[in-house]
Subunit: 708 residues, 2 copies
């Protein structure tokens, strides 16, 4: 890795929170419900061998003189003083290793390690409360190790921050605390705490005054915007201090509909979170070590391990585990994944990609997402051909999302979708219908939950009818793919999840990416209908799958590729043609992607397609990175990861030097220092730099690599 | 007035909230619990006679293209469109009048008027719930009048804003509302709403799209960060639209100790606030008209009226009416005034100045403040002479404040006071002791509450003992003023409320300002002790008052002034020498300020003092503004207002041309366009510009002017 200086998120599960660290300056910190890093100074440092001179990791801004706000004219000697000089470690003296569940910084005699939870959340409908509590306690843990074995004097070490919540003050936790907890926090929402009685908490205008106040009693300074914990390690000793970085938001947190964080049933204030996290430190640490070992022992390359780990860190930063409040749903769980910097809630086209990770970690969360889409975010429409006002029967589909930044959208409508458009912000009716079918099928198969299938048999049958209606109103003219746009577009055109690319991927109708996913949905529906004993519907689904495959074959060009938008004069070459092939394995239909199966020809065609397009100037950038569309410089890492998996695992193509060069390029994209490195894991890369979908949860598609 | 472009606060009572408006650009808005204006764009405008071209008050920033965040590469035609051009009114075309309870903007055919509550909050311990609810409903009201009588076409008008809460999204209220309420808001905390069914609420990336979307259905755009309400006035009509600007914070809002807003017992979400405010619009409007008439009909000059009105607006913006949560105090009221930009809670030296206003509006709030100081923020200390470590008995005193920015400080300690200092952030033990005595005496006399006096007889007797102990340990050597510093200063020195001035006002010991206030406290204690039948203690208090008066006389210089710090070689001349003279009238001891009474000589001396110092180059700036200390350019308007009142009302000195020139200068200070005008009412003026204590509640000392 070129640089250790990139932000990574360290997040409790479901707290929509992140302790973000790694980009120099005041560019990380303790963020709660934010669309970006908190941009706070974080202070982590150790006294050098020169008394009073401290070296710190470079994650802070030099303090302005905050006292001046109060004392606008006074002489300098009226201000609180410190006996410390804090200087940043030399950039090159700092080492780092980011792994799946931890992040370790080393500099001089200091080791600073963050443990994040990467673990299953038990189904809250069945698990013991204590197990759920332990899984979702809204804290991440920190170990700060100081090696003073070669030292000749005691040395002090510190860990603190300067909060920037606009509404509430920094404060010491010690004043009215829980058990032996000490620490500093801001308002009721963030805190750094410990149960180590040898640590002193302090507040001041500057970190220098926190670390070494001239008058120790002034550690209590209530106006101080900088807070921290300070420990001392005697000469000749090695010592590890432990901390919990805690988050908390009590009460009702959403507008539109009232919900609260699920953890509020276990914790009524952040001090309790801190006490519980510290009491369970050993367990959490052990879990992190085990999670790390799992990935380390896998056959992934170092680049792959890094990307998967980084993506998982960012995924958890967007998770928000809520419970409904009031009326008939009171207390029922509501699993939300926010959409990174955009903070849309449960964006369905992200759900369909995060699915693979969630199925491994907590399949009940997938079921919960689907139930919410069924209960509150499904709708019925009619459809029409482009340029023709005649309406034909449509059917059920699902909204793009369920809300935005703690606002739960009204029933039946997303926050994103607008009317009368044909590009970004138009409706994604067909795509979300396909996403529902595929998520449902993966869930039913993966969690062996036929009960849920039976409960929702009508919804799933309606999905099939709706899909077919969007193909062609006359059965004889159907070709297995989308031919009509939703009446909800009000004369516009539907789009796909690739909303910010050109029409090679953005237009839904006749879209190659959409077509293969639609095929996969029909394949899955065929099986589901058989399971339900609805053989006629199964046959319908199967015949539609065959039609879709035939259509793809028909669209193949002599040059050996299928155009991004078929039959419309477009000749963009796109990688996500193969994306939909991921599903048959996961929906219990592996036969559909057997080379000699009934879709063998389609598979050959797609193999030929990917071989044709995956070359420089077409779907490879000059740096060997993958370019999703030959006609756009905007390439999305989550989707690259997914197609890479299909390329190797489904199509059986080899991962040679060129593949490894692509991985290396993608790592470089993420670490690009000017933009990408600040935004932790990001998705939309324009020529190797993060420009959109930043701070994003979607990269966990890389979890599929572990199945290869 | 030179300019109409200055921010004023418009605040519900006790909601720690402000709809701030008046400074050009995105420099006002709907602020909740902030230390400054919200810095949001506020959109207020009317269609011109040219269709689609709107004129707006200049309180917004040109929108960046927010759509680009989502669609980083797409062509422009993929974005939602509008049929509107919004341009600011010419600066000189805008008129304004700020009064006590309203603020009226006029421009072209548009009149925009904000009504703020200036009314009594009934004692929640005795009043009917409905009365309290009506007084503290967290909303201010707006009327937007459009005169289209000369118009030949229908014209649209709008009122909206772009929120900037970091945690939650803008949203339409219409989706899940209360009654007929429509509107826009951010999260659960701010909203602009109406019950006028002819208004349309809308959200979009820009105000143009809100006002005139190409496709009206797109008004629902959930991602839009700009929200507003739009109405239409037909040709030939004149029409008034009504709005409520609402604030709400549910749940527990403070750390340290849990409290919630008192209004949460009446309203469980902001939609209910909006519905109630609109239903009571006529009542609220009438109350505002009556409050305005009261001040308009007073004998104050226009400059005085303006300063008092402006100060009252800012006072309410800092008020925060809470209730304790849990344990034995559950549900009990907790009245807090935050300290403007500093947000310290119930800073006692501000309480002592806001006292005069609160006694007129709701004396129970003063009692509540005092009770909290007694119960939670009193402490006992010892005292010592400067430069001498020997400790002598001290006694009771009170902390500087009760917390900071929603953090309630630990019992017995303020957030402000530090140890070992002799300037800003040192202890104010003596001053707060005096403040307690004076506030208590004013409350007991003003509210005729002898019951409270009897309940607290021991506390008040302890105050007398503590005051005397701070004079001299040996009775024979007492001189009536402060001679010893608190042990809490740990070797430092006590300061006064004038913490950011030089020692002429900042040092507490031997301070002239402090001495006169101490004298007033003894005078008040003498009466209180008589009321309690403790004649010995009354005599002690009376003799101390006489000693203090004698000490002042002894300090008089041949030049005709008393030095700011007496007997220490200081020769600063200070105006606040006379400040303490305000109290005898208000504590039921008017005889103490009778020219021929027992303190006649002291009064003569102070009259001579003020006459000596109140001249240019000493305690007058070149612009005729008052300069509190001859040795500092930092002058505080709240204290000027207070001393002006004493000057005229207690000392009987005439308010001539020079006085009116001072008032005019002080108005200019407040309107100074670069700094002051942004910060609404501010206190600390350095050479006529607001530098500290900005956005401040303390200016309500001007209420005393109405007593003259």
């Amino acid at each position: 890795m070129d640089s250790v200086y990139f932000n990574a998120q360290h997040s409790p599960i479901g707290a929509f929170a992140s302790f973000t660290l790694g980009y120099p300056g005041a560019r990380g910190g303790l963020g709660l419900e934010l669309r970006q890093p908190a941009n706070q100074s974080v202070f982590i440092g150790l006294e050098s061998h020169e008394k009073g001179v401290f070296d710190a990791l470079p994650f802070f801004k030099e303090a302005e003189d905050e006292a001046r706000r109060y004392d606008v004219e006074a002489p300098e000697d009226h201000q609180p003083k410190a006996d410390a000089i804090i200087r940043p470690f030399a950039r090159e003296a700092v080492g780092r290793k980011l792994t799946l569940a931890s992040d370790t910084w080393t500099a001089g005699d200091l080791t600073f390690r963050i443990f994040s939870p990467v673990r299953t959340v038990p189904d809250p409908g069945f698990a013991e409360a204590e197990q759920v509590k332990q899984a979702i306690c809204p804290a991440v843990l920190v170990e700060m190790e100081v090696d003073n074995t070669a030292g000749t004097a005691a040395r002090r070490a510190f860990f603190g921050y300067q909060g920037n919540d606009p509404y509430s003050a920094m404060r010491r936790l010690d004043d009215r605390t829980e058990g032996d907890i000490r620490g500093v926090g801001q308002g009721r929402i963030t805190a750094i705490a410990s149960d180590d009685a040898s640590l002193e908490s302090a507040m001041a205008f500057s970190i220098e005054q926190v670390v070494a106040p001239k008058i120790p009693e002034n550690r209590v300074f209530g106006l101080g915007g900088v807070g921290g914990l300070v420990g001392t390690v005697e000469a000749g000793e090695r010592r590890t201090f432990r901390f919990a970085v805690c988050f908390y938001r009590g009460g009702i947190v959403t507008s539109g509909e009232p919900t609260a964080y699920y953890y509020t049933r276990y914790f009524s204030r952040i001090e309790q979170v801190a006490a519980y996290a510290m009491a369970n430190f050993d367990t959490y640490r052990q879990w992190a070590v085990e999670a790390d070992a799992m990935l380390e022992q896998s056959r992934l390359s170092d680049d792959q391990k890094f990307m998967l780990a980084h993506a998982v860190h960012s995924y958890y930063g967007s998770t928000q585990f809520l419970q409904w409040v009031g009326e008939e749903r009171d207390g029922r769980p509501y699993w939300v994944v926010n959409e990174g910097e955009y903070r849309m809630m449960n964006t369905f086209d992200l759900t369909a990609d995060q699915l693979f990770f969630e199925m491994k970690m907590n399949p009940w969360a997938v079921r919960n997402e689907l139930d919410t889409f069924i209960d509150r975010y499904s709708y019925r429409d009619q459809v029409r051909f482009p340029g023709d006002d005649t309406l034909h029967p449509g059917g059920i589909s699902f909204t793009h999302d369920q809300g935005l930044a703690n606002h739960i959208s009204r029933a039946g409508y997303s926050t994103y979708e607008l009317f009368g458009l044909s590009g970004c912000f138009s409706h994604m009716t067909h795509e979300q219908l396909v996403n529902f079918v595929l998520c449902a099928a993966v869930y039913i198969h993966g969690n062996e939950d036929e009960g849920w299938l039976r409960i929702n048999r009508q919804v799933i049958a309606d999905c099939l009818e709706s899909l077919v209606n969007r193909d062609h109103p006359e059965p004889a003219k159907r070709n297995g793919i989308m031919g009509l746009d939703s009446s909800r577009t009000m004369g516009g055109a539907e789009i796909t999840t690739y909303d910010s690319l050109d029409e090679s991927l953005g237009q839904a109708r006749n879209n190659l990416y959409m077509a293969v996913k639609t095929w996969a949905a029909y394949v899955a529906l065929e099986r589901l209908m058989h399971m339900l004993g609805a053989d006629n519907l199964a046959d319908l689904a199967g015949s539609q799958a065959v039609r879709a495959a035939d259509t793809l074959l028909r669209a193949m060009t002599p040059e050996g590729f299928i155009p991004g938008v078929m039959f419309e004069g477009n000749d963009s070459k796109i990688i996500p043609a193969i994306e939909g092939l991921v599903f048959p394995h996961l929906t219990g239909c592996p036969g559909a992607v057997k080379p000699d199966g009934r879709f063998g020809k389609m598979l050959d065609a797609l193999k030929r397609h990917i071989d044709t397009v995956l070359r420089k100037g077409t779907c490879l950038f000059d740096d060997d990175g993958w370019k999703l569309s030959s006609t756009s410089n905007n390439s999305w890492l989550s989707k690259i990861y997914l197609s890479q998996h299909v390329y190797r695992h489904v199509l059986g193509l080899p991962w040679d030097e060129r593949g490894r060069a692509a991985d290396a390029a993608h790592v470089r994209w993420l670490l690009e220092p000017e933009r990408s490195a600040y935004w932790a894991w990001s998705d939309q890369m324009i020529s190797g730099q993060a420009w959109g979908s930043k701070y994003y949860p979607r990269g966990v598609t890389a979890i599929l690599w572990l199945d290869e």
